[in-house]
């Protein structure tokens, strides 16, 4: 008899240990993966290009754009291939591919210091793109095996809170060498753990491999409605991709410029005072928990209103501050709002692709979602931010553009909400 109960704590009147293990495995794996992307890939590689290879800002912008486009291409191709091979339902195969991805990342991270020219760096980026591109559909599709629909908000909140907390508290210096040192430890541990899970047999893993067959796991909350029990997610997927692309783009475009202003960073994210960084880390945790609760209670449209509204308000704050005082340090209220907005959308990103999918469509949906919106938007905007700075655009102008974009997206959502067709009431 199948157990359709979506509660983590009960399994035929006892604690459901396999399910709790699966939940924690997902949270740990995704948090470590996101921490890697957040620190080493997004910040560390730029530092490596600038300070180790001596590349110009334009060259780094071009290389990062290449990384984004190639990652996106690989993710889509691999997601499509997984869907056609039915690998969305093959839990053990997904674990084995995940192991391969982590092993590749470990080797690539370890050998990066031997890279001494731009051409080798580009080749290295292509390999990283392959690993990341394969990792996206594989790891995100594990959501459907490991996290029941009702707990996806909570799981995403824990992933977000852990990754941002670690990134803020453990990162004293935002440089490639420090990140590499930290992440090699995490990656080696991850390799060992995932290797054991991927190739050893254990009854718990057999239970986890069957979970995607239960409705409490298999059918995402946005896939069917009371009025229409048939899956209908394609239009919604496109809408969510567009919204998430906009959000990621606005975030990275603004933040990548703000972090170049020592006055802003030294009083906030890179403050030498531990308690200030701890405060921002605490805001990330509170923001993630708020988002985890609200994700389950609100519609995705309402969540996007909040996220874009928060970004618009945050950049408006920075805009006014820059006009009044230039690049003088800011108070902690500024990063507080920023951290809140970032935590909100990260939680949504970790939960929503599985909730728009079934076990068959999760590889391609997560590839479309994460690669096309998150990766592409982040790296394109990173490239654009570096390019604008290289062209001498003033900080004030840059932040004004970002704020305008955030407001524009917010207004676009309002217009869409106004124009949408009312749902049928039965």
């Amino acid at each position: 008899m199948q157990n359709n109960d979506s509660n983590l704590l009960t399994h035929t009147h006892s604690i459901n240990f396999p399910r709790i293990f699966g939940f924690l495995l997902f949270v740990g794996m995704m948090a470590a993966g996101y921490y890697y992307n957040l620190t080493f890939v997004q910040l560390g590689l730029e530092d490596f290009g600038t300070n180790w290879l001596g590349l110009s800002e334009i060259s780094i912008a071009r290389d990062m754009a290449l990384l984004a486009i190639f990652t996106c291409f690989i993710a889509l191709a691999f997601g499509w291939w997984m869907m056609h091979r039915g690998l969305g339902r093959q839990f053990r195969v997904k674990l084995q591919i995940s192991f391969g991805v982590i092993l590749t990342q470990t080797i690539l991270t370890a050998i990066l210091p031997v890279v001494h020219s731009e051409s080798v760096f580009i080749a290295w980026l292509v390999l990283v793109s392959c690993a990341l591109g394969i990792g996206v559909p594989v790891m995100f599709s594990l959501t459907i095996d490991l996290v029941p629909v009702k707990q996806r908000g909570v799981a995403a909140a824990l992933v977000t809170a852990s990754a941002y907390f670690a990134a803020e508290v453990l990162s004293k210096q935002w440089d490639f060498a420090a990140y590499r040192e930290q992440l090699l430890l995490v990656l080696i541990g991850g390799c060992l753990g995932m290797g054991i899970l991927a190739f050893l047999r254990h009854p718990w893993l057999d239970i986890l491999a069957q979970q995607h067959q239960q409705p409490a796991f298999a059918i995402g909350r946005f896939v069917r409605t009371k009025t229409n029990p048939n899956p209908r997610s394609s239009r919604r997927v496109i809408g969510v991709i567009v919204a998430m692309f906009g959000i990621y783009f606005v975030d990275s475009l603004g933040f990548l410029r703000l972090l170049k202003v020592p006055g802003f960073m030294e009083t906030t994210w890179q403050s030498p005072i531990f308690s200030e960084r701890l405060f921002i880390a605490g805001v990330h945790i509170v923001g993630a928990l708020i988002a985890g609760v609200l994700y389950s209670a609100l519609t995705e449209r309402q969540l996007y209103f909040w996220i874009l509204g928060l970004f618009a308000l945050t950049h408006l704050q920075y805009s006014l501050h820059i006009r009044a005082t230039g690049d003088m340090g800011t108070v902690l209220a500024f990063p507080m709002l920023y951290a809140l907005a970032v935590s909100l959308y990260t939680v949504v990103n970790f939960a929503i692709w599985a909730d728009l999918s079934t076990p068959d469509t999760i590889p391609i949906n997560s590839a479309l979602g994460v690669a096309l919106s998150a990766w592409t938007a982040t790296f394109l905007s990173t490239g654009l931010a570096i390019y604008w700075q290289g062209q001498g655009m003033s900080l004030e102008r840059h932040i004004q553009i970002v704020d305008s974009l955030a407001i524009l997206l917010f207004l676009a959502l309002l217009v869409l909400a106004f124009l949408r067709k009312p749902e049928a009431i039965t």
Binding site: P215, V293, A297, A324, T325, A333, M336
Partner: protein
């Protein structure tokens, strides 16, 4: 939004904006960027947040001038005070301040003693009016304040229960039935709301809107409290076997609830945190139900 609501909103907005009109009660000039030359008479105050401003030889600022950042070249006359917090002020030969010069920071050059009619306050030398030393309130006075507050809110609860029973019920259902969601929404709305109030006030022109926002936030929190106490009053009366009319139960529930809330928030450290959590939950419930206008129903999940 229906037509009547839209008209009401536009009228409210119009009323607020009327206070900022050229013939209104207060007038000011805000300079944030670029090069500006002030000639002739400038009514009201001048606030300089950036850019370069030059006050011509025969120019007169009828109010006060505040330089927060940017540059001011002063060749004309300022009838009020000049408050200088940052940036640069250069006194020309004809530059004159009829009021005081309050100097907080920035570069001040060519200042002559005769340029300032009033006094020069610099650094910690700003003279504050003598204020009587504040003494902590006696426990009796605090208790009286709590009782008055609780009684006033009790009376308000009776009125709300009489005229808006549905609104109160919907808010209390959100608080009691979806406490976690209400708390999350309240924390989010509280943080964003307060920031929005500060940013709005920062524009100076929209200070009335900021005040309105602050009043709205406060009203929402109080409405949330009252709605909960209205719901909890009958339950408590049932368990305590108190037999009173519904009006008195509403009053009593709110009164006792407010007194308990006041006592709890006086506990060091934990009291403040509990107070914030309770206020956030109330605010969130009011927000989720749009001030009790509609019932809050969380998004549902597919069932097994």
């Amino acid at each position: 939004m229906n037509r009547n609501k839209m008209i009401a909103c536009l009228m409210l907005l119009g009323l607020m904006l009327s206070s900022c009109g050229a013939n209104g009660r207060y007038q000011m000039t805000l300079i944030t960027d670029g090069d500006h030359t002030l000639a002739g008479n400038t009514k009201g105050d001048v606030i300089i947040l950036g850019g370069k401003t030059s006050l011509e030889k025969d120019a007169v600022v009828e109010g006060a001038t505040h330089v927060i950042s940017g540059m001011l070249r002063l060749d004309g006359e300022i009838k009020g005070d000049l408050s200088f917090l940052g940036g640069e002020v250069i006194f020309g030969p004809q530059g004159q301040i009829d009021g005081d010069l309050n100097y907080g920071g920035g570069d001040l050059s060519n200042l002559r003693q005769e340029s300032v009619t009033g006094i020069v306050n610099a650094g910690t030398g700003i003279q504050l009016p003598a204020v009587e030393t504040q003494k902590s309130k006696a426990p009796g006075a605090l208790l009286i304040r709590w009782v008055i507050n609780a009684a006033l809110l009790g009376a308000l609860a009776m009125i709300l229960n009489r005229y808006l029973p549905g609104h109160c019920r919907r808010v209390s259902k959100a608080v009691l039935g979806h406490s976690l969601v209400s708390l999350a929404m309240g924390l989010l709305a509280g943080i964003v709301g307060i920031t929005l109030v500060v940013v709005t006030a920062y524009t100076i022109l929209l200070i009335p809107v900021a005040l309105l926002g602050l009043v709205l936030l406060g009203t929402a929190v109080i409405f949330g409290w009252i709605a909960c106490f209205i719901a909890l009053g009958p339950i408590a009366a049932h368990y305590l076997k108190i037999n009173l009319s519904s009006n008195w139960i509403v009053f009593g529930g709110t009164f006792v609830g407010m007194m308990l809330l006041s006592i709890i928030t006086e506990i060091p450290i934990a009291g403040g945190i509990i107070g914030i959590l309770i206020a956030s939950t109330s605010l969130g419930a009011v927000f989720l139900t749009r001030f009790g206008i509609r019932r809050f129903i969380p998004e549902s999940y597919p069932t097994a």
